[in-house]
Symmetry: C2
Subunit: 401 residues, 2 copies
């Protein structure tokens, strides 16, 4: 009989690792904090916090700010995240563009490289991505041992026959390609791969509008449509890494045919591709988001028609996410230009009645993401930082085997 892998036990070492993360998280969400304040927030003793803060300071992850005077008692020394404590590389691959960035611990962009591609296959893209990475390391002259890893974002879903590689919103040829392993091989750096929506969600959680939220959904409007799910303080990726792939949910039974074989899929109405199609572009495979921004600015009537038609499916998407997941908020973003996102957002009201329609809300039901068009690369860069610093259940688990 083979035994089921089970949640594993923990020990002091794991506990300490957790506590270290808790301290970082407390400072990240609240800004600079004194040792005493951290102790109160985390329910740990001030002595313990003192030890951890000292450790994190010598590791250069935290740095002291100017001593606070003006209150009674001994003046407090606030500590904040040291931007130079670590760096991360973010990569993003997409139908027409490969982008790479370096960010520091504060999420600030330190370098950026962009290369045009055209429906890249793995054989074409992998060397390019490796090259971008080494160029980034070279030009930003960052200390190699302070590099936390490479995070990569690409369109999902992953590994679904008849969906992953079919149709204009999917990247062809990547169906079962082991991106992370290959890129790790090529670069010698640890690689995390997520779909663009998940990456964007992490970005917003670490540095954007979702900084203080425990549960939210990032609705990513790109070539297709997907959602990144952050639930109860944890990233939820699904049992096969495809949670949030709601682009192919049916919102119009019998509606527009989709390449996946179904009719009336959400992303046939709300996505870059849906807009290009509605505009009747001659070469939708090479249209760019900037075009849409222009058309919006010009008040183009066909684009306005698309907007009007996209609103109700978008409302339904939000409705589905709210009803299924009861998040604190839904964040809108993606490759769709910010002005277009804002135009969509401003026309959403009245939203459908849902479990989110309660008067006792602290956050709006829908927010627009903070990171703009680089949301997905910046989010990708946030992935290694997130996995190194976020308090999560896994950290408590002893590695098994």
């Amino acid at each position: 009989m083979t035994l089921k892998k089970v949640i594993s036990g923990t020990n002091l070492e794991q506990a300490k690792s957790h506590n270290r993360r808790v301290v970082i998280e407390a400072i990240r969400t609240n800004g600079a904090l004194s040792r005493a304040a951290i102790a109160r927030l985390t329910a740990l003793s001030s002595q313990t916090i003192s030890n951890i803060v000292e450790e994190l300071e010598t590791a250069r992850l935290l740095r002291p700010e100017a001593t606070l005077k003006g209150a009674r008692g001994q003046p407090a020394v606030p500590y904040s995240i040291n931007p130079d404590g670590g760096y991360s590389i973010g990569l993003q691959l997409d139908h027409q563009l490969a982008v790479g960035v370096v960010t520091d611990l504060s999420g600030a962009m330190r370098a950026r490289i962009e290369r045009n591609v055209d429906q890249p296959t793995p054989t074409e893209a992998m060397p390019l991505l490796a090259a971008i990475s080494s160029d980034l390391i070279a030009t930003s002259r960052l200390e190699r041992q302070r590099l936390l890893g490479i995070g990569m974002a690409m369109p999902g879903p992953f590994g679904v026959e008849g969906m992953t590689s079919v149709g204009p919103t999917a990247l062809p040829g990547w169906q079962d390609f082991p991106v992370a392993e290959e890129l790790e091989q090529l670069t010698g750096i640890a690689v995390t791969v997520e779909n663009d929506a998940t990456a964007a969600a992490i970005g917003e959680r670490l540095y954007g509008v979702a900084r203080k939220l425990g549960s939210f959904v990032y609705l990513f409007i790109g070539t297709g449509l997907g959602a990144g799910l952050f639930l109860d303080g944890h990233l939820y990726k699904g049992s096969r890494h495809n949670a949030g792939e709601i682009g192919h949910v049916i919102v119009r039974p019998g509606g527009l045919p989709c390449d996946c074989g179904k009719r009336g899929c959400l992303e046939r109405y709300v996505s870059l591709r849906a807009a290009y199609d509605r505009l009747g572009l001659a070469d939708p495979d090479h249209a760019s988001p900037e075009l849409l921004e222009q058309l919006l600015a010009n008040g183009d009537s066909r684009f306005e028609a698309w907007l009007a038609e996209a609103i109700e499916p978008l409302r339904q998407a939000i409705d589905i996410l709210e009803m299924a997941l009861d998040p604190e908020t839904v964040v809108l973003g993606g490759f769709m230009p910010l002005p277009v996102i804002e135009a969509l957002a401003s026309r959403l009201e009245p939203l459908h009645l849902s479990v989110s329609s309660t008067s006792a809300r602290t956050t709006p039901r829908v927010m627009v993401g903070a990171a703009g068009k680089d949301t997905s690369v910046l989010g990708a860069a946030a992935l290694p930082i997130f996995s190194e610093t976020n308090p999560q259940f896994d950290v408590l688990q002893k590695p098994v085997g």
Copy 2:
């Protein structure tokens, strides 16, 4: 400035509590295990396991089974969950019925009480529920100090204006009533309240078909329709306790009008109430699920028509849940009689293409729940047991304040 409550730190005490739960969980999912086997599974040292097992044995939560011979080495003593180690009371309230049960640690029902009600208000129901509880304690003569708590299941959603108390699928008058607090007051026992779908999910996870699953969705077909979400080993309840309330998701834009004000809501097609309505019953408020079972057995043509019409919306519900959450499986159950659930399940194929349609599956996409018509009370009884024994992130957190 008020500081954001943050994830709190941990210490040895919390770690031990976690490890105790891990041991119980290992035995629950795998059946009787020797100390050495537990040590291997949990990555804890055999000494640690020895200590914990001894402790749990004296607490009567575990009991030794017959020594295993036939292998090399010293014969192992397998330990299993001691059914008499604890008891739990499950309550379920609904439009026409109040049910209470006592279960032991193995989930076996030890007593059951049923009372008819009619659209009960809180003032009517609370004393009744308290009476059921004390009757259960008296008749089953259980040791009071081994009673882990009361779990209660009732239809959701909770506290949503214009939805919670509106329409035939909702219980009127409970909008903001503090059920748990009141019942705790009346009985002097700790009370957990969840919606029926969530309770059923926990039941299936502890004792049913979902015993070994890390992520699954329980689709509860009752008077209305809701889903219980078990994701990555944790119950996900949503930011306002209303996750999974997908009954009011729109599956037919412009379809049948719903009391919530929208049109084409899922539960207008798939629910007991939807079936009653489709049959044109004179008094749908007092129809019973057994009627549907009879009609199915008789091959009633109007009921067959409902079945046929319900399939596609049900497919869509499954599609939505699969795409949004990528679970290992979707479990069907609820107040709908088992033969009807099975009839629905057997007609589902072909399911929609989704992220679940991969050939590399270990579980079927759709399963029928094991607990039958008492699924929701039994699940309710499982709630206190779950919260006492399941390894979860919260356990590691030091209580703050």
